[in-house]
Every structure is written in structure tokens, then in C-alpha cells.
Symmetry: C2
């Protein structure tokens, strides 16, 4: 990215709070926000984003920690709202760099962070477990964790009290009046914070374009009841491993319909274990069986719960769909429920999995039509309710693409927030609030940091451009050895190609190209021959032209001239 | 693809009809079906498919014409149901090979074929224009074109009468009881064909998983009325260029709300021109203006209609969204209507376009919630109606992914088709029908043919595997010259990489790798040194290992050893 416009003014000497989103504004993923006062700084969440089609070979995308690094002496804590990857996936990288910073979250969130991270990265990390309602002070900032509903247990809003006012961060939320765990959002506490006065609210914008109210998790229960009533064979349910409410629904329905549940895959079993031991799951005795024992039960007494709702190639469901799973084989009569919606970009892989399952004879229930899934994010009516409960002076929609942030900003204005007090921010924007004003005052590094293999940030736009060019039309190398003194070719030109032609059939083409190159090189004057770069340019031009005129393709052409 | 199982038995001597889908079964795109009798053969449609993410660098995907080629002496006609790319996009390739085969379609479909094709490819092609209701005989096969509704005008079902019975091909269709052109499907003719008796029906499965009835195009009119009533500035409507009903709605609303319409882009203007001159569009005088003249009118009197509803990077809408359009700039106050749904796989590019338009201050209306788009394909109730009107003995769902075909097959059984008479076929399946039986008798080439540049079919799985490997982790070449007689290195090793490292920062790494390679090569015995392949394997192994241990990346490694 261009760094021309990056400038962060020296902070004022009077009390201030700066809010700096480093990720998640204008995109879905890698949520992270810095909250900074005169002497102290906390970070809210540190997520990852999955690469899009243009990020060739990139494993994951994380945030640029420069702003935090430059103020590391003020850093007091990493506060984590909940245990989804777009909020915790960057923590191993963060913890490695900021070793002595406590990671503060509810116990299930901490368990999910530990499960998702490679242990070596978190060896030094210090965790602070909190429960909803807890208030902890970090220098000038006091944070209060407030229970809220989401598609994972242990999710919290954060009220961050600072010398110039309270910053309220909703995290990811919905208002479920009939949640499976019986615990609606802590309205009393949210209202109390609102009554005290909130300087600025940051709120989840995922469903800001969606009218109405997100359906309760209970409606999934109704769909499950119908599915369990009709299914004559085994039932397979795919969801995100962290979807504790969905796991509870599966367990409850298994008991009610006299089925046993087998959890498939390490991440799913991990979550069941953590969530069960932390009291987030009610597991009756003799409900669970091992996946190896499934065949000991008649089909109508079996439920299998697995990951793979996004069609991820290595997931349990995707492997089942192509008969590549050692412990479980789909047979005709099985009912498969995909209890999630495809994240944009995953539609094709989800559909591929569904097609393969259908070919194996399974009945596949997917999509939101049958209500076997509901969103975990608040729709417009809930967003409006949150705004009316909190009544912030300033508002900053976060967690969404631009169109969602813009829609959320319009909702805020409808509830009475002044239009000039709504900041539809970009990653890296530095917003500053004092007793007198709130404004954007600067810009820091908010760009994507690509993780590829063990490299963090070393793959940039230039490398991706190369990979894109290679993926489009392949590469041809020409190697020629020249006698530097006599300025004549002594070996080659040899042509090597990858991804351009189907070689068994293209031998003739390569011979022709080689012959053309010989002619080209013979035409180079003795003086030009002494200059390697001139020879290379002649070769590159001649070969690129010859390939294009034959194939209309533009492979990467690399001439290698060895002087012997 | 494996050709092991490919076998097409000699045809029987008694009367038969073979139905061979070459594309469109198990996928969306490249629809094509062969209908063959003892002495004659016709082909229905010849479409293209757009490449998916795994088809690196492929421009388009067409069908394997082998089955047609091997029976070219029997080929009488290419019958085209309607003018969408997934039904006409392969015609230039077909026409080039089967030059004297007439292409038979309604006039608008012919115009769309000509507009989409490069003229040189179709120079030899002979077109036969038909109107709905026409019957034409090609040897033993008589085809009747029957009017039906779809999201392009001029769409037809085909009734193909053969010596052993009638094959009924629905093409793409919906039953719109209140279509914009006032012409519902020709129920009388469909029923008459059904009364005569239909041997086998092939039917559009796109929406076979969708319950109920696809909404009428009229409901889009209601949405447009609301949008035109509220919009204070200019209105931009994006749709497929071929969506003649949508163009008509735009024209009608412009007249009603006192706006002028400018059509943007060559394909959109082409369709307006053809459809207008063929009587498919009612264009009142003084309704249309040139895009260059838009600024002469106040914003509330302007509508611009453009392509780009799929976020295609070079389309009108995508260019507007990034201020890259010379003739039209989005300004705050503009309302943009995306009157289409994203084709699976296009979601991210559509959303990118929407985000960019929002950033420019436009109000963007998209999605089906606001009913600014309806599908052109029949939902379950219409598919059931078609089955009940036609009452076929055999049924073959076409035009859909496997899950859609399977769902459509279940619908057929619900209407009374025997389950054993439903063929959920794969591309290349050869189905044979006689007076006695209907069955799958063989398998021909039904695989993807990739078009890349000017090459047709020369890019196969091997080339794509190479391109995928290159795109994931790049490539490193090692070039070394050895004296063949003395078995010693006389130049190199030189390392060249693309897409692996960010080079300005990786120079040190390359130096280290080079030093390791020197050690490796020095360790090769003199005997081994005389064998180029052994040297290459030593280099490849050492370099791949060294790169992986440093970066956890696995680039393609190409050792080049020149003997001088």
C-alpha cells in the first residue's frame, strides 16, 4: 500500500482517547481495534481473514501491528470479545511479539484461543479469565465484560471507561430472546452503561443490510425437530465447531429422539470437551458414543456431528462426500443437514460437497429456507435496539464490508446520532476524542499482512503479481551459454516450460520456437552480444512474440544467459 | 479424463433414438445435447461455461465434439433454444468444424449468436430463422419450436418427433402468467404434443430445489415503480444485456416517470437494436438518449442501463464503480439497481462493485429482497406443471448441478413417471430408446475442453496442475554449466525466482541458498557428475529442502544443467 498519506500527529496533552481500527472495517475478517488514552492502551480482538482468489498461495491474512508496536510501552492488555477465528486467529502472531501482554477473555474463549493456536506460540502468553459482569482496570482504562448472544458461547460486549468517556464495543452479537442456554443478553447492564453516557459505540455491521430481526436459535430447534421426526436413517449435522448452541440443540434432539451422538474430528471434540467442562453444554449420560462405534447402532439411533459446513476440502463432511473418510461412510438413507450458510466465496465448494453427498444417495438439507440455520449477527431491528439502549454520542460501525458499514451508519442517524458524529472508518484511521471534539486526526498502517508458510509479511503485492502471471499462462525459460570473449553461443538455447503447453503434444512447437530463437540470436551483433542484458531483451521479445502469435498466450518469459 | 470406460456400442438395426448430453448435466453451463436416429442427427444448443477457480488461466470451457465428429455424416442441424451464452457460446467453435450445418433458431437468438461471435468464425455458417410454431424436418427428425417464457425473448421448447417417439426438450423456461410482452407460454401447443404422447422429456433443472412458483416479471415492474418514485437523482440499472424483458421494463418506467434512457456499452446497445427491430421491444420516440448527452438533462430525468450485474471487471458498472468509465461518473445521489442475482462464484466481485459504488455515494439496491430481480427459470410448481402437461414416458433432468437434477428427478416421480424411467445422466452418457426399451447403453467423451488464447483443448489437467503449483508458491530455477569432459562446474549455479520471495529483501536468502547448492554440487562424485539427470536430482532435492526449511513453502524447482 502507499504510505504517502500515513501520518499520526503527536497526541494532545489534555485527556484523550484514540480509537484505531486495524482490521475488519471494509472487510469481513481480521477484526482488531486499538483503544488508547494518554498513558495506556488496550487492544480489542486480534483476528485473521482467509485469503481471497487473488491472494495466490497465501495461507491467512493478519493485521499490521505497527501502530501497537510503536506504542508498545503503553500496551496493557488484549481484550477478546469471543472465540471466532476472525477475532482470535491473529493472536499467536500478536502473542509472539507482545509476550508479556495479558490476554483477557471468558474461559470458553480462552479455551478456543488455546485450541486454535499452536502451543509453542502461546507458551509465554498470560491469560486472564473473566466472567460476564467483571470489571478490570488497565491504567486509565477500565473494561467491563457484558454478556450478549452470538453463535458461540462466552461472547461479550465491552464497556471501556476512559478519562474522556466510555467506549462501548458490541463485539459480535444478536439479541436472542429465547436462547438455548436460557440467558438473553444482559440488558440491565447495557442500559446502565447507556445511562451513564457513552462517548462512542462500535457495533457489529454484518447484517446491517438485513431488515427485521434475526431469528432465535430456537427456530433451528423447530427445524431439527422436523428433521429428526422424518429421518429414517442416520443423521449427519455439519456446523462450525465453535457453534456451542448448535451442539446443544443436537444433543437435546438426540436425547428426545432416542439417538446417540458421535462427534467427528478433533476441533469438534475439543469444543465439546471445553464447553462441557465449563458448563456451557448440558450433556446427559450415555448420549455420546465414539465414531468408531457408530456401526454398532441401528441407523435410526445415530447422529453424527461434524465440521465442514463451508465445504473445506480437509473437513469431515467434505471427506465423507468423496468417500475419503476412514471412520464414516455415507450410505443411501442418510440425512445430511448443513447447519450454516456459505461465507461469500465458499459457495462453490459448499455446492460441490452437496452434489457429492447427493450422488452417494444422501438426502441433503441446506440453506436457510428450511431454517436449519440462523445467523449469529443482529439484523436491523436489533442494531436499532442496541443504538437506543446505548445512545452513544459518536458511532463507528465495524465488522463489515463498506456497504454494511454505510447501512449501519444510516441506522444510527435514524436513532438520533448526529450524521457528523458517524464515522464510517477505514482500517488504519486514527479517531481522536476529547472532552471537546471527536474527529479523524490521522492514518496508520491498516493493510493486509500475508502469512505464507512460515513467512509473515514477506509476501507482498509484487510476489502475488508474479504468482498471478504464472497461474494465468505459465512460464518459459530460455537458457543459453555464451563465450564471453568470443561473443558466440556455445550451448543452447534450451527451452523449459511449465503451465504453457501440454508437452507431449507441444514438442514440435518447442522445436519451432527454438529455431526462431537461434535465428534471433544469430542476428544479434557481436557488440550487442557482449552485453548480457541486450541479449536477454532480444530473447525475451522474440520468444514472447512467437508464443503469442501461435497461442494468444502471454507466459512469463525468463531468459538466462550464462557467460562461460 | 479417463477413457477406460468409454464405449459406444454399434447402434441397433431397428428404429432407435439416442439422446446424448455432452454438457450441462451436473454443472451450470455449456448445455448441449445430441438427438440421433438411425440415419440422422441434430444437436440442441452449444453453450460455453466460465472457468472456475481451479481452471487457472482458462478463458472459457466448451464441449467435446468427438461424438458429433464421429457421426458427422448424419449431422443435419444445430437447433438453438435461446440466446444465452450457456446455450450459444460454443457455436463459433462448432460452426468452424461443422461448416455446412444449418443453425436453426428464432431471429433474436440468431442476432445474439452473431453479436456474441467473432464474425470470422461464423462467415461460413448458414442460419435458418424460425418463428414459434414452425415445424421443420431434418431427415427422420421433425422439430417444432414452441414459445415459452424466459429472461430473454425468443426462447423456445423443442418437440422433436422421431420414428420411435417424440423427444421434448424444454430449453430454459418459466411459466409467466403475466409476462411483459403479453405472451404466456404456448400451453395449447405443449398440451397437444403431450396428448400425442412423449417418449422422453428433457427439462431445465436450475430451480428444481426451489419450492413454489418463480415470480412474474411483473413483480420487477412493481419494484421499479417504487424505485422510480423515490429516486431523486439519476437511476442506473444493471442487468444482463440479453434481458429483453428487463430492458422493456426500464423503457416503460422511463416513459411513465418522465426520464430518458441511455444504454451504455456495445452489447447492451446491440441487443436494444436487434430486439427493437425484431419487434421484441416497444420503444417510444424520444425515449432514448446517447450516453454522451446525459449531462444535458437534470438528474431526475435520467436512467442509464448498463451491463455488469455480475461484477465483471471490464463491464460498464464495474468501471463506473472505480471511476474508470470515460462516459459516466457516479455521483452522490445516484441510485444504482443491480437487477440480477450473482451467479455462484461471482458473489465477491459483485460485492466489491457494490462496496465501491457505496463509497462514491450511490444508493445501491441489490438482492432479491427488494424484488428488483426475478429468476428466469421455473421453480418446483412450474416444473411439476410442465411434467403434467407433457406426461412423458421417460424423463431426463438437464441444465443443473447434480443436486438439482436429483431433485427434479424426484419431482418427475411425484407426477407419475416411473422411478426406473428417470435418468439422472452424466455428460457423455448415451441413452438409447426404441419401441421396446429405454436405457443407458454407452458412454462417450463428455469432458471439459478448455479454450486458452487461441488453443482449444491443448490445455489439460497436466498444464492446470503446473499452473496451480506455480500460483501457490512460485518457481525457482537453478542454472549451472558443467564441462562435460572434465565433469566440473564452469559457471553458476545461478538462481532465478518468481513468486517465492520479495526479492529486494530476499537477496541474502538467495546468497545462502546458492552457497548451499555449491556445497551440494561439490559433494557430487565425478561419475555422478557425468550424468546430467543425477546432477539435476541432487540440485532439486537440496534446493527444495533448503527453501522449505526456511519458509515452509514448496515452490516448483527447476534445475537446468548445461553441458558445455
Amino acid at each position: 500500500m502507499s504510505t504517502d498519506a500515513l501520518t499520526v500527529p503527536a497526541p494532545p496533552s489534555h485527556p484523550y482517547v484514540r480509537i484505531v481500527p486495524l482490521g475488519g472495517c471494509g472487510e469481513i475478517g481480521r477484526n482488531m481495534t486499538v483503544i488508547e488514552t494518554n498513558d495506556d492502551m488496550v487492544v480489542v480482538d486480534c483476528g485473521l481473514m482467509f485469503p481471497d482468489d487473488e491472494m495466490y498461495g497465501v495461507d491467512i491474512v493478519i493485521n499490521d501491528f505497527t501502530y501497537v508496536r510503536e506504542r508498545a510501552h503503553k500496551l496493557r492488555a488484549l481484550l477478546v470479545t469471543h472465540g471466532h477465528e476472525d477475532h482470535i486467529g491473529g493472536i499467536p502472531y500478536f502473542a509472539k511479539e507482545f509476550r508479556d501482554t495479558p490476554i483477557v477473555a471468558t474461559p470458553l474463549t480462552i479455551a478456543l484461543i488455546k485450541a486454535k493456536s499452536r502451543e509453542q506460540h502461546l507458551g509465554e502468553a498470560e491469560f486472564t479469565a473473566v466472567k460476564p459482569g467483571d470489571r478490570i482496570r488497565y491504567g486509565e482504562v477500565e473494561v467491563e465484560f457484558i454478556h450478549v448472544n452470538h453463535s458461540v458461547a462466552g461472547a461479550c460486549c465491552l464497556a471501556l471507561r476512559t478519562p474522556v468517556g466510555t467506549v462501548f464495543h458490541t463485539g459480535d452479537f444478536k439479541f436472542d430472546q429465547t436462547p438455548i442456554d436460557g440467558k438473553p443478553a444482559d440488558f440491565a447492564r447495557i442500559v446502565r452503561v447507556g445511562d451513564e453516557g457513552v462517548l462512542c459505540m462500535l457495533s457489529d455491521s454484518t447484517n446491517a443490510e438485513r431488515p427485521g430481526h434475526t431469528l432465535s436459535e430456537r427456530t433451528v430447534g423447530e427445524a431439527f425437530t422436523s428433521i429428526f421426526s422424518h429421518a429414517k436413517g442416520r443423521i449427519v449435522i455439519a456446523s462450525f465447531a465453535s457453534n456451542v448452541p448448535r451442539i446443544q440443540q443436537t444433543l437435546d434432539h438426540a436425547v428426545r429422539f432416542n439417538r446417540k451422538v458421535a462427534f467427528l474430528g478433533r476441533s469438534m471434540r475439543n469444543v465439546v470437551h471445553f464447553a462441557g467442562s465449563l458448563g456451557h453444554l448440558r450433556i446427559l449420560p450415555d448420549t455420546m458414543i465414539k465414531i468408531e462405534d457408530v456401526d454398532q447402532y441401528p441407523p435410526e439411533q445415530v447422529v453424527v456431528m461434524t465440521t465442514g459446513s463451508q465445504g473445506e476440502p480437509m473437513s469431515g463432511l467434505a471427506r465423507m462426500s468423496v468417500r475419503d473418510h476412514k471412520q464414516f461412510r455415507i450410505v443411501p438413507g442418510d440425512t445430511v443437514v448443513i447447519s450454516a450458510t456459505p461465507i461469500p466465496g465458499n459457495e462453490r465448494s459448499v455446492h460441490r460437497t452437496i452434489n457429492n453427498l447427493c450422488k452417494l444417495g444422501a438426502t441433503v438439507i441446506h440453506g436457510t429456507d428450511g431454517r436449519s440455520h440462523v445467523s449469529g449477527h443482529a439484523s436491523q431491528e436489533e442494531l436499532l435496539l442496541m443504538l437506543n439502549l446505548v445512545r452513544p454520542e459518536f458511532f463507528m460501525p465495524v465488522h463489515g464490508e463498506y456497504r454494511m458499514l454505510a447501512a449501519h451508519g444510516r441506522l444510527a442517524v435514524e436513532t438520533g446520532v448526529e450524521a457528523g458524529n458517524v464515522f464510517v472508518a477505514e482500517n488504519g484511521d486514527v479517531l481522536e476524542f476529547t472532552h471537546e471534539y471527536g474527529d479523524k486526526v490521522g492514518k496508520t498502517y491498516g493493510g493486509h499482512v500475508f502469512v505464507d508458510g512460515s513467512g509473515i509479511g514477506d509476501v507482498g503485492e509484487a510476489v502475488l503479481r508474479d504468482r498471478k502471471a504464472l497461474s494465468n499462462d505459465g512460464i518459459i525459460m530460455v537458457v543459453v551459454a555464451i563465450d564471453a570473449e568470443e561473443a558466440r553461443v556455445i550451448a543452447g538455447p534450451d527451452l523449459i516450460s511449465r503451465g504453457v503447453f501440454y508437452l507431449p503434444e507441444a514438442d514440435g512447437v518447442l522445436d519451432e520456437l527454438r529455431a526462431e530463437l537461434v535465428t534471433t540470436i544469430e542476428g544479434v551483433s557481436v557488440d550487442a552480444m557482449r552485453d548480457v542484458n541486450t541479449v536477454k531483451e532480444h530473447i525475451r521479445g522474440a520468444l514472447a512474440g512467437a508464443v503469442y502469435s501461435r497461442t494468444k498466450r502471454r507466459p512469463v518469459v525468463i531468459p538466462v544467459v550464462m557467460e562461460v
